[in-house]
């Protein structure tokens, strides 16, 4: 019975996230954080960051990887299924509804107006999540160095995310 309510909670939480995350996987990060670390307290910040890293290191869409992992962590294999179904259901339903009239949808001034408001807000939300999550993680000089190095390697185009995570794992072994 408890499992069943957990599964429903997972499905609904992830449907809500799937329905509001404009801009793909990264747009989900602030929503996931609020839902699972702050509101439900099913994950710690450390676990959440580990999950994002693993989602990034494994093949497939990051959003699906993260949903499957969080669902598994909360309620085992059924939880993983509930979370994954939850996060894809809004996509499937919305697109099947829109598909027939997508030329209208895409050029609709209303849709454009809504999205022109949502896009900058999503970026601000992710930025706020970076600050909130950074504080407890960047506790010492080593962590600060790794974070800055990762950021600079990515922004200068010297490395792709996957090798950056590999490098940081190595630095973790060496420095800690």
């Amino acid at each position: 019975m408890i499992l069943l309510t957990r599964l429903c909670d997972l499905f609904l939480s992830f449907s809500r996230i799937g329905l509001t995350a404009f801009g793909g996987g990264y747009a989900m990060i602030p929503l996931l954080r609020t839902e699972f670390i702050v509101a439900r307290q099913w994950l710690t910040l450390g676990e959440f960051l580990d999950i994002i890293a693993i989602a990034e290191m494994t093949p497939g869409p990051v959003a699906i990887n993260a949903a499957t992992y969080i669902g598994y962590k909360v309620a085992g294999v059924p939880g993983a299924a509930a979370a994954t179904l939850g996060v894809i259901t809004p996509s499937v339903v919305l697109i099947l509804i829109i598909a027939g009239l997508f030329q209208h949808y895409r050029s609709s001034p209303l849709v454009r107006a809504v999205i022109s408001g949502i896009r900058p807000a999503v970026i601000a939300l992710i930025f706020s999540a970076v600050l909130v999550m950074g504080r407890p993680v960047l506790v010492d000089f080593r962590a600060f160095f790794i974070s800055l190095a990762a950021f600079l390697l990515l922004i200068t185009g010297k490395m792709r995310p996957l090798p950056v995570i590999g490098l940081s794992a190595l630095l973790g072994l060496l420095l800690y």
């Binding site: 809500r16 799937g18 509001t20 995350a21 404009f22 793909g24 990264y26 602030p30 929503l31 450390g46 580990d50 994002i52 890293a53 693993i54 989602a55 990034e56 494994t58 093949p59 497939g60 869409p61 990051v62 959003a63 699906i64 499957t68 992992y69 994954t84 996060v87 996509s91 697109i95 099947l96 829109i98 598909a99 997508f102 030329q103 949808y105 849709v111 107006a113 022109s116 408001g117 896009r119 807000a121 999503v122 970026i123 601000a124 939300l125 992710i126 706020s128 999540a129 970076v130 909130v132 950074g134 993680v137 974070s147 190095a149 990762a150 950021f151 922004i155 995310p161 794992a169 072994l173």
Partner: protein, 192 residues
């Protein structure tokens, strides 16, 4: 209903299964591979048709790769095609993560693993900061007009969430409302 016979759902499923199983780096990395397969190799869609689909999937919420899969599958073979493509794109992720999660739960307390993730966690923060910059640049570039509005919404959203602890879901809904209002009553700063 169908104008021309599309590929069978089984074939669509396998195509997306392969893409889902072998593409690292999430949705943005998957889109070029989907294009290569669907446009160049299988010739299911024209380049133009594919671009349409991409611009649409970015204006719908949810994971990019999943949105693209649903849409392409639907175009090729109706609802069975959509379900086949989506299942194909998602199934490898699901199985691989279950495997990794089961392993990780067993070894997460190992001292070496702890050290590794002490290094990875700050890098993930850097990675997300990089995503902010990347997405931000895209939004600014996409809106040559009305950047004043874009900056105002971003600033307000940041303050509401970071300073006043408002729920991000509410902020997104409010931002959608602001976009609508602005399109009806554009105020100043909207010059090209």
């Amino acid at each position: 209903m169908k104008k021309r016979p599309g590929p069978p759902p089984g074939k669509i499923f396998l195509t997306f299964l392969k893409i889902g199983a072998f593409t690292f780096g999430g949705g943005y990395a998957m889109l070029p591979l989907i294009r290569e397969t669907v446009v160049e190799r299988e010739k299911w869609l024209s380049d133009e048709g594919f671009l349409d689909i991409i611009s649409l999937t970015q204006s719908v919420p949810g994971a990019l790769a999943v949105n693209a899969a649903v849409f392409i599958g639907r175009q090729l073979a109706g609802i069975p095609g959509a379900l086949a493509a989506t299942t194909g794109a998602v199934l490898p992720s699901f199985l691989i993560i279950l495997f990794v999660a089961a392993l990780f739960t067993r070894f997460s307390q190992h001292p070496l693993i702890i050290k590794v993730f002490m290094g990875i966690r700050p890098a993930v923060v850097g990675l997300i900061a990089y995503a902010v910059l990347l997405l931000g640049r895209k939004v600014i570039r996409a809106r040559a007009r009305g950047n004043g509005f874009t900056v105002a919404v971003a600033g307000a959203a940041f303050l509401l969430v970071y300073r006043f602890g408002l729920n991000p879901f509410l902020v997104i809904i409010a931002a959608a409302g602001a976009g609508l209002l602005y399109s009806f009553f554009p105020v100043g700063g909207d010059d090209p």
